[in-house]
Assembly symmetry: C2
Homo-oligomer: 380 residues x 2
């Protein structure tokens, strides 16, 4: 298969944002023809592909017509029309990750059921169809309400502290989830190719910006005990195998204060928690995803050293044509790699880029990351 | 300056081949708008830039019109119309490397004179205006005849063993150069930004394919004595400073059997001898070139470990639509990174891609590189 691929393969990417952009940076090495569909006429991938099409990712006809002459489709966002992908699959277009995997992961309720059915550790939960269900919930307060569909980047998630919050809760079908008293949010990215080879990236530790509810600071590799890391990686592999996914899968987990691991959410695509792999590991998540979907041997995922990733978010109070302050000062620090996403407009907390900071000494890496975080401001 | 750059800067690249392609892969991180000029309508950069223009790099009007609305121009090939670049410079377009540097390096005779005037060690030479000059040369046989202009990738270079070879020698203005009995061909890439900061990549060792007269196998870092490496790096820095170049400069040198270093040739752009920096060093030659021309702080060039680079050349006996044999088998070897250049057609010895092989053990890296070399064949 691989031999036929190169040069001729038409690979479609649903979504033309930063994940697609970084996937293209890597796909250039493989010589494939890239087609991108995105609703934004100025999406970050616009000028970097063989064909860029503006259209809705949720519309059946748009996705079907985009895909019908392609050899293979992958995604950089899971909110896409799965019915169209299933039709394309039935007509012989390769869709990786498979449409059924995307359908399952689109619905956080189905994800939770899948965890339960497959003995994958996750927090206790209950489904409700509207906010009236909150009062009847047998999960004790405070708890988390999560929309089953269309949440992303922390949107669609609410902490319900007391019954007073029921009023402002989501009305749509949701999950009520036990609040996990976690020690740390961790993630493992696993890749699986069509012949069933699997490989995990080393576990990473995440720090969220509580205001933006976004991963803001990521540390790789983790310094938790080997046993914890091995357990997290084994859970990720079990999920990839249970799903029989082809491609990469990001598994976000909670490490509890008792040392237990609970799976939070899945993303069947390159993920914010894997950006540091570009400089920090022997293969990047983007390179590994391409190897997986092309059914090539998976690469060595070992860490090349300490790597910290910070998201560059639009500064609060600024909206408009993006400007970047402090880049030059940040680049004067050893081991700083800047990735700007090519977004013309900034708004508060919009992901405008990321920076990876590498250093052989972990504490120096963290200190340098803090410096970079203070230096770079995305304003307008 | 840097702050204004991002997002708005229109950077033109003269030449749309593999060097431009890899430069774009890196420039994506900086958010700049890339415009490319190349005579080949299917050049490797075609689909990866904001604007791709087909036209002659040697034509004054074409280069001038391409550049007149750009903020900055750089090159990936030195055979370009320098008069047009000088006109653009005088009108305020930033040209890095500077037009005068390109003019000097275009002519191997001027290069040699520059070495002599600046006490840069190089082999003895003499200019001749046509092949009749060969008989009068005071350089003793055997010697090398090199065209002053338009030679590249080993073309425009002849070894003259005896007077019998005078007949088939080049008729054009040439240099007659003493044949250097070298131990090894080495190279150092140096970067210099506009404020005069300079930084060298570690010295690398090259092995040529004598048939194709191309770098085919490159080893980084070198294991020669520190003193030799330091001397090579110091020569490269002296040249960059003497030229006052902005951008990167590849300095190809001979290490003689007596441990002397003689400068062979310069290339004021990313160079085949620096491809392994993508995976092998903390910054790639492409990233460093961008930092230099954007007048940003230069990055740490240290080696991250052993890296071997091999060129993927079109197999002898094949011409036509390129096919790649053995990629899958090669990717099964640990630490193998494939870079295909997106060239549709192969012909014997055409540079179709390169592979970098990294391994913590140098001998294993070399062994793996040999395996990859035997596995991958570019045929038609």
């Amino acid at each position: 298969m691989a031999k036929d691929f190169y040069g001729d393969l038409r690979l479609g990417i649903l979504g033309g944002g930063q994940l697609g952009r970084m996937l293209i940076q890597e796909a250039i090495n493989f010589n494939v023809n890239i087609h991108v569909l995105d609703p934004d006429p100025n999406a970050p991938c616009k000028r970097l592909c063989n064909q860029f099409e503006v259209g809705s990712l949720g519309d059946y006809d748009t996705v079907y017509n985009f895909g019908k002459d392609l050899d293979m489709i992958t995604i950089e966002i899971e909110k896409v029309n799965v019915d169209a992908l299933e039709a394309l699959e039935s007509e012989g277009v390769i869709v990786y990750p498979q449409a059924r995997v995307i359908r399952l992961i689109q619905d956080k309720g189905l994800q939770k059921q899948f965890f339960k059915q497959n003995d994958i550790p996750t927090s206790a939960f209950q489904f409700i169809s509207n906010k009236d269900g909150l009062a009847q919930s047998n999960i004790s307060l405070p708890f988390i309400q999560k929309l089953r569909k269309d949440g992303y980047d922390g949107k669609g998630v609410k902490k319900i502290n007391t019954a007073v919050d029921f009023d402002t809760a989501f009305e749509e079908p949701s999950i009520v989830e036990e609040l996990v008293d976690f020690e740390k949010e961790i993630a493992v990215i696993v890749a699986r190719n069509d012949r069933g080879d699997m490989s995990t990236f080393p576990m990473v530790e995440m720090e969220f910006n509580p205001q933006a509810n976004l991963v803001e600071f990521l540390i790789s590799p983790s310094t938790y005990a080997e046993a914890i890391q091995a357990k997290a990686e084994q859970i990720a592999k079990k999920i990839a195998n249970d799903l029989q996914i082809v491609g990469i899968l990001a598994v976000e987990m909670f490490l509890t204060k008792d040392g237990d691991i609970l799976v939070n959410e899945l993303a069947p695509r390159p993920h914010n928690s894997g950006h540091q792999t570009i400089e920090g590991n022997y293969v990047s998540q983007f390179g590994q995803h391409l190897r997986a979907i092309f059914n090539l041997p998976l690469a060595n995922t070992a860490s090349r050293g300490n790597a910290i990733m910070i998201n560059l978010l639009g500064e609060e109070g600024y909206e408009g044509l993006a400007e970047y302050e402090g880049l030059e000062e940040a680049l004067a620090i050893d081991g700083v790699y800047i990735h700007l996403y090519g977004k013309k407009y900034t708004k508060p907390f919009r992901k405008m880029g990321h920076v990876t900071i590498v250093h052989e000494d972990r504490n120096t890496a963290i200190e340098n990351a803090r410096k970079v975080q203070n230096l770079i401001k995305v304003i307008a």
